[in-house]
């Protein structure tokens, strides 16, 4: 290995293949040489190449993300920290973030998904919050046709369960969809929520020259060398095999101890700052800590405890071995830190110190192997503007029409058969085979489990509760990126409304294709604008997130898939809403303006219709009014059930309420309403005593300005053994349940 300043003597950047192999462009390399005033050494180049990767530097998304609103009255910590935090009252902060682990999961789904959960948990306890819940958002190819996708689904779900179940954090919700566009690039996104007394919240900024940098947790091995960053920054090609030996193995038991130990260190006020190790390992964690604190760091590789002999300094600096944290400690407290760590059987090793040099200086074998200004690692990577180009031929010019699924769904089939086919399809079938592999109750907070309500509900020690929902709909975003992405935000908020929750903030993960391609850049730009507009309309700030680009195979990009995780608050967990129809005789009503369209719907997909635009327009004021009306009614305890109308239209929404309650319903749909047409996040199916429904949406003190009247249309009654849509269909609830139960069970 060459040492600092001893970079190979070469006649020009373009002939030096080191940087190209590490994923840096010639221009980027030239910029490094210019900033440094010399060629970087090998360790330096390894560090720089990772820090300048898309994954770490957000080269193609940083400018875009500035469009998202990030401020709100509840925000305690916004984007830029390991996880954002909102105020949930009673002196408590709720931290949350969603993150992708797509590429590692495509390579090794069990470990990829497991370490995805492990990584997002660390981001949450890195801010001082105890992880209290996990949610997952998954996308695979068509499981009905693809054995590979069935395998990925099975192993990814097992991996998520393995990590969450073993570490004692409940997995309380999630979503999973299947589309051919994900056949080559599955998506595995995991979200974690954590709770902290606000006094324990901690930032990652290193501070105090002379303070000690202590590495906590697992030994450092050759895990994921070049892993996340190389994997996440280049499209999948033929050379996959070489990327394989870098698989990271998750050890939830080690992380459980690390978590308890970290929280005890914080409770004992022993730490100046804390940071997790994720992508690009020590390099990224340490340089970000230094940058945030405007200090320098000296690190001695020889002190890093290794799992394997003979590791090069660059390997030590970029290793992505899991279950490690980095903290800054004042020198006098180091023995106390070590003592707490010993109790938890956690290795604690001083590996360096904070300096006022503003430089990252890495030593190994007594030599300086890297000496870089912190800024060059963290801030100086070029940031690119996107060059969006709307696809001329519309969405179908990028994505082929889906393959039609079954004869039962052609226009000539009966509506009853269509409903059954929809319920049995992988996208609408019961998710029980997935979520029964997750523990939703550990920690004794779970008031609403999966399938009990549209959002999960967790009780807080304050006596109040939080609600959380995670959503995405790539096919609809592919049809119409701006409206589709906005719909996802509205759908999350609608889910919260169904349990009585009012949004506090959201996190997002932008899963897209190659941003250097015009149409992907356009999808990104439109989608982010759609999210931003929805956030403004709903007054929900974005408190953090993650971006996963280059999800693209030779056949083309994935559907653009922004995944939104939204958290809300409700005053009384005992009144959290439910999804199931309950009492016979309850009236059923549609709340909100519902003007759906078959465009981009599940039925259109089953019929093999091409993607099309536009989606039905979003009327923010009307949607907001509907959300508010349902939320208030749930909070008042007037409703038996509340469910937003989404995939599969009103027929599927009604069927889901019937199956959940094991009771039928007799309904007359409003004139001209297509039972299977879709519009997300705008309207609800609710049930309750007839008198109670009459009062929904009426403002207590008469109509207030700015609050539009909310249409409430009574459409039928709960009762009987079947779901009857007059003049349309009649299907026994048992048949609905059976269709819905089989769809995914067959794939798992």
């Amino acid at each position: 290995m060459s040492r600092v300043g001893g970079g190979r003597v070469v006649s020009g950047a373009a002939t030096d293949s080191r940087h190209a192999a590490l994923g840096l462009s010639d221009l980027e390399y030239d910029r490094i040489v210019e900033l440094l005033g010399r060629e970087p050494g090998d360790t330096e180049l390894a560090m720089l190449s990772l820090m300048w990767s898309e994954h770490c530097a957000y080269k193609h998304s940083r400018r875009l993300l500035r469009r998202l609103p990030t401020e709100g009255p509840a925000v305690l910590m916004g984007p830029g920290e390991n996880a954002g935090v909102v105020d949930v009252g009673g002196g408590l902060g709720l931290a949350f973030k969603v993150e992708s682990h797509n590429h590692p999961s495509a390579v090794e789904p069990f470990q990829g998904a497991a370490t995805g959960v492990g990584g997002i948990l660390r981001d949450v306890f890195a801010v001082g919050a105890r992880p209290i819940a996990v949610l997952d958002s998954l996308r695979f190819g068509e499981v009905a046709r693809s054995a590979r996708s069935r395998y990925l689904l099975e192993r990814a779900v097992a991996g998520i369960g393995h990590y969450g179940n073993s570490i004692g954090v409940p997995t309380i919700g999630g979503e999973v969809y299947f589309e051919h566009a994900y056949e080559q690039n599955c998506l595995v996104n995991a979200m974690c929520l954590g709770l902290a007394p606000q006094a324990r919240l901690i930032r990652a900024a290193a501070a105090g020259p002379g303070n000690v940098l202590v590495l906590l947790g697992a030994l450092t091995g050759r895990d994921g060398i070049g892993g996340a960053s190389v994997l996440a920054s280049a499209e999948f090609g033929e050379g996959d095999a070489d990327k394989r030996p870098t698989v990271q193995i998750g050890d939830p038991f080690a992380e459980k101890k690390l978590l308890e130990c970290s929280l005890e260190l914080l409770d004992s006020e022993l730490l100046v700052s804390l940071q997790d190790l994720g992508a690009a390992g020590l390099t990224s964690s340490a340089s970000e800590m230094a940058a945030k604190g405007a200090v320098g760091l000296d690190i001695d590789c020889d002190r890093v405890p290794l799992r394997e002999p003979g590791m090069e300094p660059f390997e030590i600096m970029v290793s992505e071995s899991q279950e490690r944290m980095l903290c800054v400690v004042v020198p006098e407290r180091v023995p106390d830190v070590v003592a707490v760590c010993e109790r938890w059987e956690i290795r604690a090793t001083p590996i360096g110190e904070v300096t006022d040099s503003g430089r990252m200086r890495i030593r190994a074998g007594g030599e300086l192997v890297a000496d870089l200004p912190v800024g060059i690692l963290v801030d100086d990577c070029p940031v690119y503007d996107l060059a969006p180009v709307a696809p001329e031929g519309g969405p179908t010019s990028i994505y082929p029409a889906p393959e039609p699924v079954s004869a039962a769904v052609d226009a000539a089939g009966s509506a009853g058969d269509t409903l059954l086919a929809l319920l049995a399809s992988a996208n609408l079938a019961s998710r029980l085979p997935v979520f029964e592999q997750y523990d939703p109750v550990v920690q004794s907070r779970t008031v609403r489990r999966p399938d009990e309500a549209d959002a999960a509900v967790l009780a807080l020690p304050t006596g109040e509760a939080i609600a959380v929902s995670i959503d995405g709909n790539g096919r609809r975003v592919a049809c119409d990126p701006r409206t589709g992405a906005a719909e996802v935000v509205y759908e999350c908020a609608a889910n919260l409304a169904c349990v009585g929750g009012e949004p506090l903030g959201l996190t997002n993960c932008l899963n897209f294709g190659n941003p250097e391609k015009g149409h992907v850049a356009w999808q990104l730009s439109e989608a982010v604008d759609g999210i931003a507009a929805a956030c403004e309309a709903l007054s929900v700030p974005v408190i953090g997130g993650n971006v996963s680009l280059y999800n693209e195979a030779p056949a083309g990009p994935i559907y653009p898939t922004p995944v939104i995780g939204m958290v809300g608050r409700l005053p009384d967990p005992a009144r959290a809403g439910r999804l199931a129809f309950g009492s016979e005789g309850d009236a059923i009503a549609i709340v909100g303006g519902f003007h759906p369209s078959p465009v981009g719907s599940e039925l259109a997909k089953l019929r093999g219709e091409p993607l099309a635009a536009p989606l039905p327009p979003l009327d923010a004021i009307a949607a907001l009014g509907a959300h508010r009306a349902v939320r208030e009614a749930v909070r008042a305890g007037t409703l038996t059930s509340a469910h937003d109308i989404a995939e599969g239209g009103i027929a599927v929404a009604l069927a889901e309420c019937c199956v959940a309650g094991n009771v039928g319903a007799r309904v007359e749909l409003p004139e001209g309403l297509d039972p299977f047409a879709e519009a997300f996040g705008r309207a609800f199916v609710v049930s309750g005593p007839p008198e109670a429904l009459a009062g929904i949406g009426a403002e207590p003190g008469g109509p207030r300005s700015g609050h539009a009247a909310v249409p409430v249309t009574v459409i039928g009654r709960v009762g009987g053994p079947a779901l009857e849509l007059e003049g349309v269909l009649g299907v026994p609830v048992a048949a609905l349940a059976e269709a819905r139960a089989g769809g995914l069970a067959a794939a798992l």
């Binding site: 390579v107 090794e108 470990q111 091995g221 394989r244 030996p245 193995i249 394997e308």
Partner: protein, 76 residues
């Protein structure tokens, strides 16, 4: 023929089970143990042992994270 497939975690890859056993043994009074790895043992009767390597690659092992060794003609 009875065949055994001995599957071990690939060297260099984290083996938390092996580590846990290695840490537990001294506590039980068993010293002088190191380099512990925990893998899987698959035993099967096959008509054609020549096909076992293909079975290992296709189903029995995960080549990304595991190595294997085939022991033929086990007299069990």
């Amino acid at each position: 023929m009875r065949v055994r497939v001995l599957v071990s975690p690939k060297r260099g890859i984290l083996d938390p089970q092996g580590q846990a056993v290695e840490r537990a043994l001294p506590a039980l009074g068993f010293d002088g143990v190191s380099n512990v790895h925990v893998g899987r043992l698959i035993e099967l009767d096959v008509d054609d042992p020549a096909r076992v390597p293909a079975m290992c690659d296709a189903l029995l092992t995960n080549p990304l994270i595991e190595d294997y060794e085939i022991v033929e003609d086990v007299s069990a």
